[in-house]
Amino acid sequence: MLDRKAKLTVLAFLLLMLASAIWLVGYTGRWSAIPFFLPACVTFVVGVWQWRLARAEGDLSAWTRWGGFLAISYAAICAGFQLMLVMRVLKLTAFPPSSFARVFLAFFGVQLFVLGNWMAKLPPLRAWRPASLSLDAAGEAAMLRFGGWLLVAYALIVIASALFVPASLIAPLISSMSLASLIVVFIKRRQLHKSQLHKTWIPR
């Protein structure tokens, strides 16, 4: 679970984002769900993380710190993007919207890089998983190291996309890369699960 400091910080960012979303709707005079999208994303990510860690066992201090960084940095990046939207509406900046998105994506990539680098160092998380994907402590450690490398590679591609890829190609590239990463993680976990079964299988 998140510690008190992380919870309060995320809550402060959420309130700021909600206030700016309500202000944006009031200022423009027409209803739109778009300003509420980022606060919803933050609530979802932090909620899923809280739910996951609440069902885990053992010493969770390292995971709590990692989750705290995830929640605070994600909320801060989203709040920053929301603030840029407000500044744009108030015409306080002439920065084009596509550049906003690129800056947002680059920060998101840096955040993922830090999280991936750190993830490889974390102890195995003892939490529920489907039986077909469960691993022993050594398998979970191997999976974390693999996940860390994958996340760092993903983050570097996100940063490179934000800086160099044409705007029209960024969304399809990131979406296909995310899907491919999920498939690779699933295959790796299944592979480790099978090798674990093979090791523990004793012929009669």
Binding site: G116, N117, W118, A120, K121, P123, A137, A138, A141, R145, G148, W149, V152
Partner: protein, 100 residues
Amino acid sequence: MNLVFKALADPTRRLILQLLRERPMTAGELADRVTVSKPTLSAHFAVLREADLVDSDKTGTTITYRLKLSVLEEALLEFARAVGIGSARPVKSTARSKHA
């Protein structure tokens, strides 16, 4: 970060980390595979623990070491190995470990 560089600069410590990449190992298993005396090995473990590159669990009299490398630290380990800072000490024959 200085502690990490110091830990990775020594070939024996790099060898220990390489061995731990295969799986977590006990101090005895590592001692069987690294050609240094046990007190020296203990000193290497202390440096690795201080740099936060390994984790240890004590069960009774057995200490099990587990790798605790971030992605950048692992990349740095690979770089140090590729460049060959110092010279890697030979791994002992596995025959001894089989008889132990």
